[in-house]
Structures are given as C-alpha cells and as structure tokens.
C-alpha cells in the first residue's frame, strides 16, 4: 500500500508539472494572439478587395494573352502550404495537410512552397519536391518576404516550372473556429472557372487596360500574389495561436481533473492504511 501511495504521489507531481507548462503555453498564445488577430483583421479587407478585383478581371477578360491569364496546359501544380512552426496546437497542422491531400488527389506531380517549420518537415517526409525552404519561420515573415516569395513564384511560373499556383492555409474565422482552405491563385483562368459570375460574362471584353493587358498583368500579378500570401500568412498565424490556446486550455483542464481524481485516490489509500494500522494495533492489544 505504501509503495502504491508513493507512486500516486509522484504521478500527481508530474501531472502538476505538465499543467504548469500547458498553462504557460496558453498564456503565451493568448497574448500573442491579440496582436496576430489585429494584424489579420487589418489585412482581411485588403485581401477581399484584391480577390474580388481579380475575380472581376478574370471573369471579364477573354483575350488571355498574358502568360498569367491564359489557360494552362501544364498540369503541374505548385502549392503554397502555410502551417505552423511548432506543434501543440490541436489539429491545426494536420488539418491543413489533410486539406492539401484531399485537393491534390492521388499520384499527381506537385511542387510545394512550404511556409513554417512544420510544413517543411511535412513536405520533406512525404517526398514532395520543394521550391525553397527559405521561409521556414512563419512567425517572422513580413510584407517584404511575401514580395520575395511572389517574385520567386512568378519567375518560376513564367519559366513553366508549373502551370498552376494554389494557396493552402487556415482561415481565421473566430477565436474558436478556424477552417483550412485551399484556393487557386494563378493563372487567372483558374479563378474564372472557380467563380463563374453570370453578371460579369455579359460585359466581357469591355475593360480598358492601359497600356495593354500583358504589361498590366506583368505589374499587378506579382502584387496580387504577394498581397494574398501576406493575408494568408496573417490569418494562418492567428489561427495557429487560437488553436494552440484552445488546445492548451483543454489540456490544462484535463490535468486539473486528473489531479483531483488522483488526490481522491491518494487520500483513500492513506485512510485505508491508517484504518488498517489501527485494526492491527487493537487486535494486537486484545491478544496480549
């Protein structure tokens, strides 16, 4: 009984230590989350406008002369995969990866541009071709880095290394809900297919491009790409922290419950051992 009591005591101690860690992680995530959420909220309207504008352009543009706009015969896809730097965030990382798997299908030839350490690990483990691992630290990526990513993608796209670019990230909906999503970015033909708008089709070919569509696309596409990547990273980062906070909150609660249960068990064991001792003493006294 005494050995059992010692084991329970040790277990309580270890659960308490774990609880301290999860509690600290929850607090860190909460304080970082506030800032990340602010950034994501600020960036969201910009991304929405950007996407809406490009959708309108894609729907209304039939020339498709620019390499960024015309339908691609190259079936190779490039995925920008945004995940976290660390685990302990519930299903945050694995949900993004599952989302990518579902979209990709079986046996397709793909290239991945991983953003975040977990994304790099995942792409390496699965043996996907990796474009670059320069952006392994999602936490420190700023607008300038997004422009570098966009430049890299655009130059590879023009070279014909791949025919489609899609973005896979986690959308921050609220503190408690985050949804992994995947959407096409380039060529614009893919966007037009994804969002057919009957209103816009009526006005096809009426938009004026100054000086001409090709030059305009060459300028705006890298901007558009960088903008969407930045917005995606901001919302992913906020999602990661929110997911971590929720996960750590649950872990702390579980640890609390476990300690309660173990303490009860420990007290019962202690009581039982005392009772036994008394019984033994009384029995011994009677025997004398």
């Amino acid at each position: 009984m005494a050995a059992n009591m010692k084991a329970v005591k040790l277990r309580i101690k270890s659960v308490q230590n774990t609880m301290q860690i999860t509690k600290a992680m929850q607090l860190v995530a909460s304080s970082k989350l506030r800032k990340a959420k602010e950034r994501a909220d600020k960036c969201k309207p910009y991304a929405q406008e950007l996407q809406q504008t490009l959708k309108d352009i894609a729907n209304g543009y039939v020339g498709f002369q620019s390499v960024y706009a015309k339908k691609s015969n190259n079936d190779r896809h490039c995925y920008i995969l945004v995940a976290g730097d660390r685990g302990m965030a519930g299903g945050y990382n694995s949900n993004v990866f599952k989302c990518l798997e579902a979209r990709k299908g079986e046996g397709k030839d793909i290239v991945v541009l991983p953003v975040g350490k977990r994304a790099v690990d995942y792409a390496t483990r699965r043996g996907y071709e990796i474009l670059t691992t320069d952006f392994a630290q999602v936490e420190f990526i700023d607008v300038g880095d997004c422009f570098s990513i966009s430049e890299l993608l655009c130059s590879e796209f023009r070279k014909g290394s791949f025919g489609h670019i899609e973005m896979c990230h986690t959308e921050f909906i609220s503190m408690l809900t985050q949804r992994p999503t995947i959407f096409p970015i380039l060529p614009l033909h893919d966007i037009a297919e994804e969002y057919q708008d009957p209103e816009a089709v009526k006005k096809i070919g009426l938009t004026l491009y100054d000086p001409n569509p090709e030059e305009v696309f060459d300028i705006i596409v890298p901007e558009y790409l960088a903008g969407l990547i930045y917005a995606g990273i901001c919302s992913s980062l906020a999602s990661e922290l929110a997911a971590r906070r929720t996960a750590m909150d649950a872990a702390t609660k579980n640890a609390g419950e476990m300690i309660d249960k173990l303490s009860l068990y420990y007290n019962r064991a202690r009581q039982a051992s005392i009772t036994q001792e008394i019984t033994e003493i009384v029995a011994g006294a009677e025997g004398v």
Binding site: C43, Y46, E49, D56, I57, T207, E223, A231
Partner: protein
C-alpha cells in the same frame, strides 16, 4: 458634381472608403485623373503623389507606391503596396533616407541588386518629400 465610391487598401488595412469627386494618381503610364462614370479600367500604379477631392472640396493627399488601380462597375479600387497620408509622413526621416541613399549611390561601389535597392529607397524618399512639400 457626381461622385463615385473609392476604396483604398494596403496590406495594413483598408485606409479609405467613401465617395469622391475626383481621384488623381500616378500610374505606370503617367498621371491619371479618374472621374465618375469612368469606363471599366485597370492598370498598375507607379510611384508618386496621389490625391482625391471630396464633394465639399476637401483635398486629401498621400504618397502612393506600387499596386493596382481598377474601376469596375462604377467602383474605384486602389490596392497599393504602400499609401501614406500627407499628414503622416515624417519629413526629417524622409530627408535623412534621401541623403543616405544619395550618399551610397554616389560612392558607386554597389552591386546591381544593391544599387536597385538604394535607387528604390531614394525614389520613395523623393516621393514622400514631394508630397510633404506640396
């Protein structure tokens, strides 16, 4: 005067959303003014001063660099890389940035990429100063 809705967005947020009479900005092909009922239109933004006029005649100025401007279904959207309001520009800082960039370019021992970076810095500083000195 007829007005039209204008939205200005940058990665730092939606900076302006409202009705204006006239929008003037520097595109990749030169300065351009947009009035209400403009044809659907799309082009890239260069580096330069931008301003718009509200219905009561108030003019708001800013330094607008990079991005795209579109006019679609009567709505004008400016999605730029950076937009700084005239009142937010720090003149001394821009002046210092200008001097630093000029100094580095004068030395002339920069590689192609570094020179490009310094030129871009110089241009940005000049745009900011020209907006502030208006």
């Amino acid at each position: 005067m007829t007005t039209f809705p204008l939205r200005i967005g940058t990665p730092d947020g939606l900076l302006y959303s409202g009705d204006v009479v006239r929008m003037v900005l520097r595109t990749i092909t030169g300065d351009r003014a947009i009035l209400a009922n403009h044809i659907d239109f799309c082009t890239g933004i260069g580096m330069g001063e931008a301003h718009f006029v509200l219905e009561d005649g108030t003019v708001r100025r800013g330094a607008c660099i990079g991005g795209m401007v579109t006019m679609q279904n009567g709505v004008c959207r400016i999605l730029s890389t950076t937009w700084e309001w005239e009142e937010d520009i720090d003149k001394d800082r821009a002046q210092r940035a200008r001097e630093r960039a000029e100094e580095k370019l004068r030395k002339g021992d920069l590689s192609g990429k570094e020179a490009q970076v310094q030129e871009a810095k110089l241009k940005r500083a000049l745009v900011r100063l020209s907006v502030k000195n208006h």
